[in-house]
Amino acid sequence: MSKNSTAFKILGLALLLAFPFLPVISSEYVVHVAVLVMVYAVLAMGLNVLPGFCDLLDLGYVGFYGIGAYTAGILSLNHGVSFWVIVPGAVALGALCGVLRGAPTLRLSGDYFAIVTFGFTELVVLFLTNEIWLTRGPLGLPGIPPVAVSLEWLGIDWRYDFLSEVPYYYLALFMMAVVYVAMCRIEDSRLGRAWLAIKEDPLAAASCGVNLMTFKTVAFAFSAGVGAAAGCFMAQWSMFLAPDVFKFWESFLVLCMIVLGGLGNINGAIVGSVVLIALGEVLRVVLPNFGLPAETRFLAYGLIMILIMRFKPGGLFPTIAATSKKSRLILELKARLQAERTG
């Protein structure tokens, strides 16, 4: 564990401790933006598994987000299923779709994998747009009930509906913390090291006894499941869904977050989502002062992305693996893998 990343963990922990008090000290708008940031942070951490840990460029991640969101939307709106029941179900469905998408692409790499994942999202969006009997098509799903906590199933007459931003804030914080801790644990586990080995050199990894099929499939399932969870949350938080939300552009946005933060860096994924979402909000406010319509913020967005890549091509917090192939970390990992296999 490098010094740099320890510092980040401490900083992250400090922020995490300060975060619970945000709704107390700030306005509803700030809380709303913070929830948005956390949803994207979860998505970014989930996506990070494929391009960041396994070197598989996934351009269709937002498809799983859409699957999770529509599962939650349809089940809660039409069948009154509770959010707490939907989440595990949607995560399982997302993971299943991840495996189904991943299985035929196991042989593919690089840009061929990218285009297949891309085609997958387009198919999901087409499905959501055209299967009107299920999704109401372009009209979208309005009036999705909010998340509720109740003890009615225990026979106690107590119920709390999430009607303001504040409870969603804590729910999002909880979700992000769970994913964050899980990611950090996985990164440091046998699974995470196997992924990193696949990223560095699939052939060498395979010859060291890493089963590419198994580990890649787990990565597909894991990444997709996290995306579906974020989708569930988003559906019940925004209370409205439309197919347009899950277009390719969203996948790009999440990809930009992890690349800006530093590919493969979990803290980087969070920082990337803070930077890009906050930037969008700041620009929305600032640009009209210069007489420009708020839509031009994407112009500035594009420009800033170009500039960051120009001067920090490895992202804001490049992982060691990204900067040099023969880095200490990799050698250390290879030694550890070797030791694990022999001892």
Partner: protein
């Protein structure tokens, strides 16, 4: 009916091919998925109608001027945005390309507005709109014939440039191995600039043809065309110029036939479905070289 659909599909496919060629050439020499290529196509169409409307230039010189402008824009983008990242991780260049794409799309929205604009009808010769030839059971409009002629001429020209000229040889050498190409005395940067110029000017032509064909252009049209061309390039085997041509045509025909016989709502999806099926059967595309894939 079938022949007519096939013909319409071929027309569309040839336009896809024209854009896909620009993608694949850039990929061939610098291994970059140039997402901004779709925006070049969009700019080509807008520049052309601007030249016609604002400067009163006739259609054909306006097309030539628009091609020249797009070539310059392509080279400029490469110099400003991509060149500094030649040695950076590949994803950095990809994100930059996305940034450029967003930037250009929004510039276009500021200049020309975000609503779709009709192509200048008056500038398009009447022959294209009114003449309809009948070949067997197929009705061919003058405009379709024009698209056929232009795209075919461009493809033939491109093939000749790549295979017969010195700069084409240099491009192929660079695509094979940049280091040896440089050692052989090839000015790598100049060849890359030429590739961008060539690809961008073909993209501009495609944008103008689509504008004429559907009689509408918009600042967001680059997105769809861009991803279709990307799909076509991968379908044919990314990096392969004949592959991109074939991929474009296959995609166009698959889409048109699919829309006619299966479901018009899933039109775009059918194109992707065909593409995914081909890639799964032939992981390096129709005409792609098998690149010693790792495990």
């Amino acid at each position: 009916m079938f022949e007519q659909q096939l013909f319409n599909g071929l027309t569309l496919g040839l336009i896809y091919a024209l854009i896909a060629v620009g993608y694949t050439m850039v990929y061939g020499v610098i291994e970059l998925i140039n997402f901004a290529h779709g925006e070049i196509y969009m700019l080509g169409a807008f520049l052309c109608i601007t030249f016609i409307q604002a400067l009163g230039i006739p259609l054909f010189p306006a097309i030539a001027l628009s091609m020249a402008c797009c070539a310059a824009i392509g080279v400029f983008i490469d110099r400003i945005a991509y060149k500094p990242l030649r040695k950076a991780p590949r994803l950095a260049a990809l994100i930059t390309a996305i940034g450029v794409s967003i930037f250009l799309q929004n510039i276009a929205m500021i200049i020309w507005g975000s609503r779709p604009v009709p192509f200048v009808r008056a500038a398009v010769p009447k022959v294209f709109g009114e003449t309809v030839f009948t070949l067997g059971s197929v009705n061919v409009s003058g405009l379709q014939l024009f698209i056929y002629a232009v795209t075919t001429a461009m493809m033939v020209g491109l093939t000749l440039i790549i295979n017969k000229t010195k700069v084409g040889t240099a491009m192929r050498a660079l695509a094979q191995n940049p280091v040896s190409a440089a050692l052989m005395g090839i000015n790598v940067d100049r060849v890359i600039s030429f590739t961008f110029a060539l690809g961008s000017s073909l993209g501009a032509v495609a944008g103008i043809l689509v504008g004429m064909y559907y009689n509408t252009i918009s600042a967001t049209m680059g997105y769809n065309a861009g991803v279709k061309a990307f799909a076509a390039a991968v379908l044919g085997g990314i990096g392969s110029v004949p592959g991109a041509m074939l991929g474009g045509v296959v995609l166009g025909v698959a889409e048109t036939l699919g829309a006619g016989y299966v479901s018009s709502q899933y039109r775009d999806g059918l194109g992707y479905a065909v593409m995914i099926a081909v890639i799964l059967l032939r992981p390096s595309g129709l005409l792609g070289k098998s690149v010693g894939q790792k495990a």
